[in-house]
Symmetry: none
Subunit: 225 residues, 4 copies
DNA sequence: CATGAATGAGCTTTCATTCAT
DNA sequence: GATGAATGAAAGCTCATTCAT
């Protein structure tokens, strides 16, 4: 599969220092890590450059050796996160031939991918910086998942396994949003639920929503009569 | 119906001025309105007191006659928005006896309620105030919708119209999240879709997801055979 | 005489505050005065915003109520100085009919005008800010004096009182520069000289340089023989 | 001829490295050259150590192997420039016996000497170093030219070729300033003029100003009558 | 000698908040 | 009530200088 995600908007950030020595690379990595944590904990706006520096154990002067601004740092953190999520979304696409099992596997991956980075990805909207760079990044990222969902649905429709009346893109946005949103509520806002239960519900709802008949182990009593 | 929403976190805001005169009431209203717009357009952190004052046509000194801080202003704006959304969620609950039509009506209301305030409500999570007051407010607000959804599902389950295996709360969170999230993508991020199509899809997905049999106008070809 | 000096380059500075109240006007004036003195004493680059504020007796926050930056402040100081010098150059142009006396009067004015503002005007070249705004301002200012000098010489040439072979503009630049430069050496660098002696020498040199015959009270001994 | 210029203020600069190896000498020279160019182009304050290092192709750490500070570097650049100008002023003092030709030759040298270094020399006044070291350096440099001019004038006066009423020092300052100032206007500020025309005018003005009779090829018409 | 990472003093600028008028 | 001048804490960022490698 070709790289759908261009990331051009982030990649063009001027990298201030190539961090040629190993010590430099370590410092740079420490700042990235510290930034990742700080953003995650306090949100884009609340993070001060100094917070990141203290956490990384360097002076604020050093920060500017590696990054030109908070935005530049966030850009790199974002790029890493997006790359990670993209990678996560690809893994194991192969999987089973059973549509329901495929959806379940996809949902589990989906949930875990968002779970790991939900806070930061949500922050993309907050970190919107005039030019909307991060907003666009988020759109690109979502697009990856939306396309995957839409493609899957289309295939099922062609196979006669899903309701052909559903608009693939719209449906993918809605059901994908269900998973993304649940990941947020579950992990960021502390809604209690076991992963198994969550994946089970998400999958059942998703499968039945698109009309995947086998997805309905439940038969109305009177129907069974 | 009792007020589910306690809003304790908002109610304890010190109201600096009762705005006893009519001139005072007008100024106060202008500031609230200006704050609402400014927050919506630029986000909590990006809004400066001065922006609000300029928009309201008053000097920045006057601001403090009515509100003790930016947070206090946001608190009142938030309270108003939450009240509005709460009201919106109540309207027309009566409605039809047909479960599918009830879900459709609820989704339309749900979508419109979030559509009107999506940006601001999302900001609740972003408005870091140390004590997480607004985060809690958002939880309370979502709880209203979650409960409504869970109650509805439970009723359908009791009537044998929905899959009894589904956890009502978890399901309501997931499907409610689908609508809330779509409202955001649709209105804040500019995904193109007609309201009718959106409501139709949301309703179909929701109804079928919970196993509402009548919700499936689609029957697999081979099944029909 | 029409205003030769456009000053467009300075006038387009955005004035941050109209200083509507009398207190505001006083503060603004104090900052301008303090800036004038500070620039004069320490040079453009060496002056810190805080130096100006301390001298004016206001906090540095207040500075930004009236001026957007050090450059903006310097712009206004410069504008005032240029206006003053321009005014000084105009006064008493009328004067005597005797060419020598006219040159003497002009030189005295010239010397005094530069004496009062020499340091600051020289600073225009130092304060060059990328766009060369102040550099241009200095050129405009010098042009006023150059034109005056060139016009005067041309008139004398037409009357047959000055060497017609001299290029008026070039000559005016050179002789004007002599006065300007001497003002600098005399007042900024502390070269000792009485004003009378200085004016007398400058005038004698100037007059004789352009060939004004009457300017030569000195006759070579052997010529007199 | 004895060294008039003491340069005590510069000589006391601590030379951090004698640059004993040939590699060291090359690096040192590169930094000096780079500093010269950088100061000339951007001015003392605007030049950062890093600019100089980049231009010289060395790391900024290396800078401190050879120079203790920006001021120290400027000191050496200044010393070199002053030495150069001093040398230039000496060359060809021999020359013709004709006073007018001697003045012309001196002016040409003078103009060229200033032309080559005008920017840097002007910077001496701008390079505020607390102790005014460079200001003094400039005074010393000017003194060389002033003395030469004053001596020349005195000789002419003794020979009865120049107005004995003129104060030699004051006159030398004024006429020397005329040349120095013109060099600045001509080369730094871009006033258009051919060197020949410039030298011709400067010489004619200078010669006639001091009353050198032969300098006046121009005779008033009516006098000729 | 050369390197470049690290440091931190020092400056600019913003903006919520106070208060005299 | 309304005004807007004044304040200063809190950031952001720069750059001369040091020092371990």
């Amino acid at each position: 599969m070709t790289r759908v995600l261009s990331c051009a908007s982030v990649a063009d950030v001027i990298v201030k220092s190539p961090a040629s020595t190993s010590r430099g690379r370590r410092t740079r990595a420490a700042l990235l890590q510290a930034g990742h944590e700080a953003f995650e904990e306090h949100g884009y706006d609340a993070v001060r450059i100094d917070d990141v520096c203290v956490r990384a154990g360097v002076s604020h002067g050093t920060f500017y050796t590696y990054f030109g601004s908070k935005e530049a740092l966030f850009g790199e953190v974002a790029e890493a996160v997006v790359g990670e999520m993209f990678a996560a979304s690809v893994v194991g696409t192969a999987a089973s031939a059973d549509p329901y099992a495929r959806i379940e596997a996809a949902n589990r991956l989906y949930l875990r991918a968002w779970a790991a980075n939900s806070r930061l990805v949500r922050m993309f909207e907050q970190a919107a910086t005039g030019d909307g760079r991060f907003g666009r990044l988020l759109l690109e990222l979502r697009e990856v998942f939306v396309r995957r969902g839409a493609d899957g649905l289309r295939r099922l429709q062609e196979e006669g396994l899903a309701d052909p009346a559903l608009d693939p893109r719209l449906t993918a946005i809605m059901l994908g949003g269900m998973v993304e949103h649940f990941a947020h509520v579950w992990l960021d806002l502390g809604e209690q639920a076991a992963e198994e239960t969550a994946v089970d519900h998400l999958t059942r709802l998703w499968a039945r929503a698109i009309g995947l008949t086998d997805a309905s182990p439940w038969v109305r009593p009177e129907e069974g009569a």
